[in-house]
């Protein structure tokens, strides 16, 4: 079986060297990084199976929790926290990013290794079950892969769901479907439009272009889009 690649983000050299040693002894390949900038640069060229994040990353302005949010937005890579923090406010913020696990230092080797192994296996399972949205069309249920959706347009009592191949018509409201779609992938640009972020070809403050179609951007939603675009420009 191929060795799994783990990216270890830890600012402290001795702790990083130790954790790396434990991971290597248990059959993993280890990539290393000591802050958010190095991590984002590394993720441009590498796709590890799992990322282990320390929360305190030296004097840098970005901590492990901010970094986890960026990783979630831009890459579909599972991560877990390995940190000495156990204060409730920090733990709550960390848990809000939905890590695979939260391990506190000093850690027992077996706890780290089992958490790593479980995280990798669980994410393998999830890949097989890609996210779908259940829509009804002409009396039939259809499980539509959300990856295939370019954008969604509201049309009176119906939604028009545009994919590369065809347009599905479904009796949903914009609000209902937005709740079922992954927030990391879809953004509402207008009262009547939801767009798959990964399909945006061009954008201005007034429009985004998806599949050669001009989709309006209204002022009420511009902040959501800006956050995404800013991050994309920074890291890609």
């Amino acid at each position: 079986m191929d060795k799994k690649n783990i990216l270890l983000v830890e600012d402290d050299f001795l702790n990083r060297r130790y954790t790396k040693k434990i991971l290597i002894e248990n059959g993993y390949n280890v990539l290393e990084s000591k802050n958010a900038i190095e991590t984002m640069a590394l993720l441009k060229t590498h796709t590890p199976d799992l990322i282990i994040l320390d929360i305190h990353l030296g004097e840098t302005d970005k901590n492990g929790i901010n970094l986890a949010q960026n990783i979630k937005e831009l890459f579909n890579i599972p991560f877990l926290f390995l940190t000495a923090y156990s204060a409730t406010d920090v733990v709550e913020k960390a848990i809000a990013t939905l890590p695979q696990s939260y391990i506190t230092k000093p850690f027992k080797n077996i706890d780290l290794i089992t958490a790593v192994e479980l995280a990798i296996r669980q994410s393998n399972n999830q890949e097989k079950r890609k996210p779908v949205v259940l829509i009804k069309e002409g009396g039939f249920n259809i499980e539509l892969l959300v990856d295939e959706i370019d954008y969604i347009e509201s049309d009176g009592n119906y939604l028009l769901i545009y994919t590369q191949e065809k347009v599905y018509k479904s009796r949903f409201t914009i609000k209902q479907i937005l709740e079922t779609l992954p927030a990391a992938t879809f953004v509402q640009t207008h009262r009547a439009y939801i767009v798959n972020k990964n399909r945006i070809e061009k954008y201005s403050t007034k429009n985004v272009i998806v599949n050669n179609k001009e989709i309006p951007v209204s002022k009420n939603y511009i902040d959501d889009i800006k956050v995404f675009e800013k991050m994309r420009n920074l890291y890609t």
């Binding site: 050299f13 702790n15 130790y18 000495a84 204060a87 000093p106």
Partner: protein, 195 residues
């Protein structure tokens, strides 16, 4: 200081101790038990002293660097000093305060360098001299860590497989986002530049 912050630091330090002990395991073949224990005691002392020199009264994250490095280097020197020859340790630190995050790697680097000098540098010298100087360039705000001994010197860049000291020093310099230079022209000379 908040209790939660204190707990965080204690747990972090315990992790450090575990890390140091495990890493040291790799060098058991090259060292006797006395040396292994002494090395680890010194590394743990470097952390304990760090907290003594931390300014907790004003709730800031700053360390009294002159006191920290003079006491630490003295302590490491004494742990090896068998008083069969005179060892002169000169420490000068022009940086009054520094963040805990920087002081920790600096302390560990001092432990490694002083240990190394005490173990190997003065074998053929009648007097041993160690100089440590920390200064700041006020125009560039760059800090310089300058270390010399009057021993025979050694090639820092040729990886020595013993005791892991050099690998640890290099890793700690990277943690400081620093650069280093080394020379053997008059004893062992070592410079680290960091912000």
């Amino acid at each position: 200081m908040l209790l939660s912050e204190l707990q965080h630091r204690v747990k972090n330090n315990l992790q450090h101790v575990i890390s140091i002990l495990e890493i040291q395991k790799e060098s058991v073949d090259f060292n006797n038990i006395d040396e292994l224990i002494r090395g680890n005691q010194n590394r743990i002392h470097s952390m304990a002293l760090l907290h003594k020199k931390l300014n907790i009264s004003e709730n800031v994250n700053e360390v009294d660097l002159p006191k920290y490095i003079s006491e630490l280097s003295e302590l490491v020197k004494d742990s090896y000093d068998n008083h069969t020859k005179k060892i002169q340790l000169n420490v000068k630190c022009e940086i009054d305060k520094i963040a805990l995050e920087k002081a920790l790697p600096i302390g560990l680097i001092i432990v490694e360098l002083v240990s190394n000098s005490m173990k190997y540098a003065f074998l053929s010298r009648s007097i041993g001299i160690i100089n440590i100087l920390l200064s700041t360039n006020h125009d560039t705000t760059e800090n310089t860590f300058y270390y010399t001994d009057n021993g025979e010197g050694f090639d820092f860049n040729a990886i020595v497989n013993k005791g892991l000291g050099i690998e640890i020093i290099k890793g700690l310099i990277s943690q400081l986002d620093g650069k280093y230079e080394t020379s053997n022209s008059k004893g062992f000379e070592f410079m680290i530049y960091f912000k």
